[in-house]
Amino acid sequence: MARMTYAEAARLALAEEMRRDPTVWALGEDLGPEGGVAGQYRGLQAEFGPQRIVDTPISESTIMGSSVGAAVAGTRPVVELRYCDFGLCAADEIVNQAAKIRYMTGGQARAPLVIRQTIGIREGLAAQHSQSTEAIWTHIPGLVAVAPSTPADNRALLKAAIRCDDPVVYMEHKELWTVEGEVPEEESVDEIGKARVWREGSDLTIVSWSTAVHAADAACHELARSQDALSLGQGARVRFCREDRTASGHP
């Protein structure tokens, strides 16, 4: 196991996929010299060049529209939209184009792309930069929605998202970027659409995703402690499901 942050795990995943598959490339604002808002693209332009780590103007609809075209033409774009709030600027290209193409062409065309857009609160970013829009994307047929909770998830699920043949809305959480965790040394690609059981039990089920998984984990520890203190039988067992990958419309 290697210890790394959620951002470092994502960078590793993208680098591995770009080395493995020459059709994988990334585009968005400030990916090159800046390396992304959280350093999740740091060093990648130096390794892969400006033709595969592409800096774009500030225009989400343009970024997304060109990505849909590039995906239909046979490449696998990783689209960086920074904040899910800005993803709404590209809603037509995501909802009316990317999500529909496979269906409307009877499967003759597909749009294998990953739309990265962070969700959630980070201190003081206010109403236009703090939203969690997963409910919107999970309700659009044709889109796959993913929200990783840990560094290990972010490596294994980003790789799965890049290899997915349908458009994936990939929602990292802003407050998880600097969170560290153990990531397996060996390469692994997670299965999209399957929840993981974090903790077995029979009395209570908590279903959560993204950063809420960590709040639920802490709550389980607290519940186990307080129930022993209250002498509630053998202590209630708590089951804790983690629903951090939801595949709406996934084939």
Partner: protein, 61 residues
């Protein structure tokens, strides 16, 4: 509201008779996220909120 609503709907459809109590959703309040730090914190998902909901659900008082 929220993706939690879909999870609860599926739970009710698929395993209603296995439930021991009415399920609950915990999430952010239905407001734009405030800039003010104390108000922003009220929108966060925290362990005490999960514990409080679980204790009420399981009638642990």
């Amino acid at each position: 509201m929220g993706f939690g609503a879909e999870i609860l709907a599926e739970t009710a459809e698929e395993m209603f008779r296995a439930l021991k109590a009415p399920p609950v959703r915990i999430g952010a309040p239905r407001i734009p996220i405030p800039f003010s730090e104390p108000l922003e914190n009220l929108c966060r998902m925290t362990a005490p909120r999960v514990v409080a909901a679980a204790e009420k659900l399981m009638d642990l008082g």
